[in-house]
C-alpha cells in the first residue's frame, strides 16, 4: 500500500513537472535548432544544438529592446523605492492631518484597473511631450507600483518602535537624518521585497508600453518580441531565442534568491 502511494505520488509529481516545465524546456530546445532542423523536427527536444539563432537575434537589434527595458526598470524601481519609503515614513511616523485619508486613497489605488486610466494618460502624455519616450512609460508604471509598495513598507514601518525616533530626536537629529540614518537602513527587507516585486512586474509589463510607445527603437522587450513575431513568424527558433534571452535575467535572479524571490512575488499580494 505504501509503495503504491509513493509510486502514485511520484508519477503525479512527474506529470505536473512536465506540464509546468515543458514549455520553457521547449523554448530552450527549439531556440537551439537551426531553422531547417525545426521544419523537419518541430517538436523533438534537443535534436540540434546551435547558437546561430542567438547570433541572429543580436544582429536583428534585440539589444536595443533590452536596453530600453533595463532603463525603464532601473529608473522606475529606484524612484518607486525612494517615493514609497519616504511617503510611508510620513504616513506612519509623522502626524500630518491628512494621513488617514491619504493612506486609504493609496490603498484604494491597488484596486484600480490600468485600463480605466489608459486614454487620459495617452492624451496627457501627448500634450506634455512625453509620449513615445521611455520616461512616459516609466511614470505611470511608478504610479501603479506605489500603492502596493507603500502598503508593504508601511506595514514594516509600523513594527519599528517609536522610541527610535524619540531617541534620535533627543540627540538632536532632524527628521531627514532620522529617516536616512535610522529608518532607511532598517527597511532593507521591505525594500528588497518591493525591488523584486516591482522589478519583475515592470520588466514584463506590456500594456503601458503598447499604448505609450510608437517607434520601434523605443520598444521594450515585450513589444520587441511582438514585433519579432509579426515580422518573422516563420522563423520560430529565432523568436524563441529572443524569448529565452528576455527571460534569462528573471530566471537568474530567481535561482539566486529563490526563497526571497518567491516571498516577494506573492507576499505583497496576500496581504492586499
Amino acid at each position: 500500500m505504501k509503495t503504491i502511494n509513493k509510486l502514485l505520488n511520484n508519477s503525479i509529481a512527474f506529470l505536473l513537472a512536465i506540464v509546468m516545465g515543458y514549455p520553457l524546456l521547449y523554448v530552450v530546445s527549439t531556440s537551439l535548432k537551426p531553422l531547417n532542423d525545426y521544419f523537419t523536427e518541430p517538436v523533438k527536444l534537443f535534436s540540434a544544438l546551435s547558437l546561430e539563432n542567438y547570433k541572429y537575434v543580436i544582429d536583428m537589434g534585440f539589444h536595443v529592446f533590452f536596453k530600453n527595458s533595463l532603463l525603464i526598470t532601473f529608473f522606475s524601481v529606484i524612484v518607486t523605492v525612494l517615493l514609497a519609503t519616504m511617503a510611508s515614513y510620513a504616513l506612519v511616523k509623522l502626524d500630518f492631518k491628512f494621513n488617514k485619508i491619504l493612506s486609504l486613497l493609496f490603498i484604494a489605488g491597488m484596486m484600480i484597473p490600468v485600463h480605466a486610466t489608459l486614454i487620459p494618460i495617452f492624451n496627457l502624455e501627448k500634450n506634455i511631450y512625453i509620449y513615445n519616450r521611455l520616461i512616459g512609460v516609466a511614470l505611470p508604471l511608478i504610479a501603479f507600483s506605489l500603492p502596493i509598495s507603500i502598503f508593504i513598507v508601511s506595514q514594516f514601518m509600523r513594527d519599528i518602535p517609536n522610541e527610535l525616533v524619540e531617541a534620535a530626536k533627543m540627540d538632536g537629529a532632524s527628521e531627514y537624518q532620522t529617516f536616512w540614518g535610522i529608518f532607511f537602513p532598517l527597511l532593507k527587507p521591505a525594500i528588497s521585497t518591493i525591488v523584486i516585486y516591482t522589478g519583475v512586474k515592470i520588466w514584463n509589463e506590456f500594456i503601458f508600453s503598447l499604448v505609450l510607445l510608437n517607434d520601434v527603437e523605443k520598444y521594450t522587450i515585450p513589444l520587441g518580441l511582438q514585433q519579432f513575431y509579426g515580422e518573422f513568424s516563420v522563423n520560430v527558433p529565432a523568436l524563441l531565442a529572443a524569448i529565452f534571452t528576455a527571460t534569462i535575467p528573471v530566471i537568474s535572479i530567481f535561482l539566486i534568491l529563490q526563497d526571497k524571490f518567491v516571498k516577494s512575488l506573492t507576499g505583497g499580494a496576500v496581504k492586499g
Partner: protein, 309 residues
C-alpha cells in the same frame, strides 16, 4: 573672526533649521512627490475617463461633443459588449475552479521539505517567471495546427481527428486561452497555498492517525478547513485579477475569432486605439472601473463581516 559677530549667523541658522523642520517642508519633501505622481497618473485619469464618457470624441482631434448618457445607452445595447461581460465571467469562473485547485495540487505535492520537492518547486514556479508576452507567443506556437506541440501530441497518442485549429475556431478559442491562463497563474497560488499547508499544526494529523482516519478523511476534515481562509483570499485575488485580464488574450487571439474571446479590457482597447472612439471607450473603461470597485468593496465588507463572526 568667529567671536566678533555671532548673533546674525546663529539667527540665520535657526531660521533655516526651523524652515527645514517645519511641517510644510516635511510634507513637501516626504509626501508631495508621491501625491503628485499618484494624482497625475491615477486620480486625474479616472476622473478624466468619467468626464470623457459623456462625449462623442475620436481622440484624434480636439473636437468633443457632449452627448450625455448616449455612450452608456449604446453600451448596454451593444451585443459585443455583452459578449465581453460573459467572457469575463468565464475567466472568473475558470480561475476560481481550476487555477486554485491546480495551485493546491502543486502545493500538496511539494509540501514536504526534501530535495525532490526543492527541485520540483523550481520547475513548478517557472511559468510565473515568463512575461505575458512570452507566454502568449509560446502557447500560440503550441496551438499551431501543423508545427504545434498540441496537435503533434494528439497525433502521437493516435487521436488525429482531434487536431483542430484551436485558436481560429470560435468553439475552442476561449477554452484554449483559458488553459494558458490557468497554467500561467497556478504557480502563484501554489506558493500561497503551500505556506498555508505548512502552517497546519502537525498535532492535528497525529491525533487523526491515532483515531485511524484515512489520508482522504484527513484532507477533507483537517487540511481543507484549516486552509479555508487562504482559499478564500486566493479566490478574491483571482476574481479581482480576472476582471483586469488583458495581456494573454490580446496577444493570443486579440479577442477573436469574432467576439469569442473578447474581454472588457481588449474591447475597450480596440474602441480607443484601433477604432478611435475614445468617448465610447471611456464609457467602457469607466464601467470596468465601477465593476472592479464594486467587487472590491463587496469583498472587503464580506470579509470584515466574516472576520467578526
Amino acid at each position: 573672526m568667529v567671536g566678533v559677530n555671532p548673533r546674525p549667523k546663529s539667527l540665520k541658522g535657526d531660521y533655516m533649521k526651523k524652515f527645514k523642520n517645519s511641517k510644510i517642508t516635511l510634507f513637501i519633501v516626504f509626501l508631495l512627490p508621491t501625491c503628485l505622481v499618484f494624482s497625475t497618473f491615477i486620480l486625474y485619469p479616472i476622473f478624466s475617463t468619467f468626464i470623457n464618457s459623456f462625449f462623442d470624441w475620436s481622440g484624434l482631434s480636439a473636437n468633443k461633443t457632449f452627448i450625455g448618457l448616449t455612450n452608456y445607452i449604446n453600451l448596454f445595447q451593444d451585443s459585443s459588449f455583452k459578449a465581453t461581460l460573459v467572457n469575463n465571467l468565464y475567466v472568473i469562473i475558470t480561475s476560481v475552479l481550476f487555477q486554485i485547485p491546480l495551485g493546491l495540487v502543486l502545493a500538496l505535492v511539494i509540501v514536504k521539505n526534501n530535495v525532490r520537492n526543492k527541485l520540483l518547486s523550481i520547475i513548478y514556479f517557472l511559468p510565473y517567471l515568463l512575461s505575458t508576452m512570452a507566454v502568449g507567443l509560446v502557447w500560440t506556437l503550441f496551438y499551431d495546427p501543423y508545427f504545434g506541440v498540441v496537435n503533434n501530441a494528439l497525433k502521437w497518442i493516435g487521436v488525429e481527428n482531434w487536431q483542430i485549429t484551436w485558436l481560429a475556431d470560435p468553439k475552442t478559442a476561449l477554452i484554449a486561452v483559458l488553459i494558458v491562463v490557468v497554467w500561467f497563474y497556478a504557480p502563484f497560488y501554489m506558493v500561497i497555498l503551500r505556506a498555508a499547508l505548512v502552517g497546519v499544526p502537525k498535532s492535528l494529523y497525529e491525533a487523526a492517525d491515532i483515531d485511524g482516519a484515512s489520508k482522504t478523511q484527513q484532507f477533507f476534515k483537517i487540511t481543507l478547513p484549516t486552509i479555508k481562509p487562504t482559499l478564500v483570499t486566493s479566490s478574491i485575488l483571482s476574481i479581482v485579477g480576472s476582471l483586469k485580464s488583458f495581456d494573454i488574450f490580446y496577444i493570443m487571439t486579440n479577442g477573436g475569432p469574432g467576439t469569442s474571446t473578447e474581454l472588457v479590457g481588449t474591447y475597450m482597447y480596440k474602441q480607443a486605439f484601433v477604432n478611435y472612439k475614445m468617448g465610447y471607450a471611456s464609457s467602457i473603461a469607466f464601467v470596468m472601473f465601477l465593476i472592479t470597485l464594486l467587487v472590491s468593496v463587496f469583498v472587503k465588507t464580506f470579509n470584515r463581516r466574516r472576520g467578526q463572526a
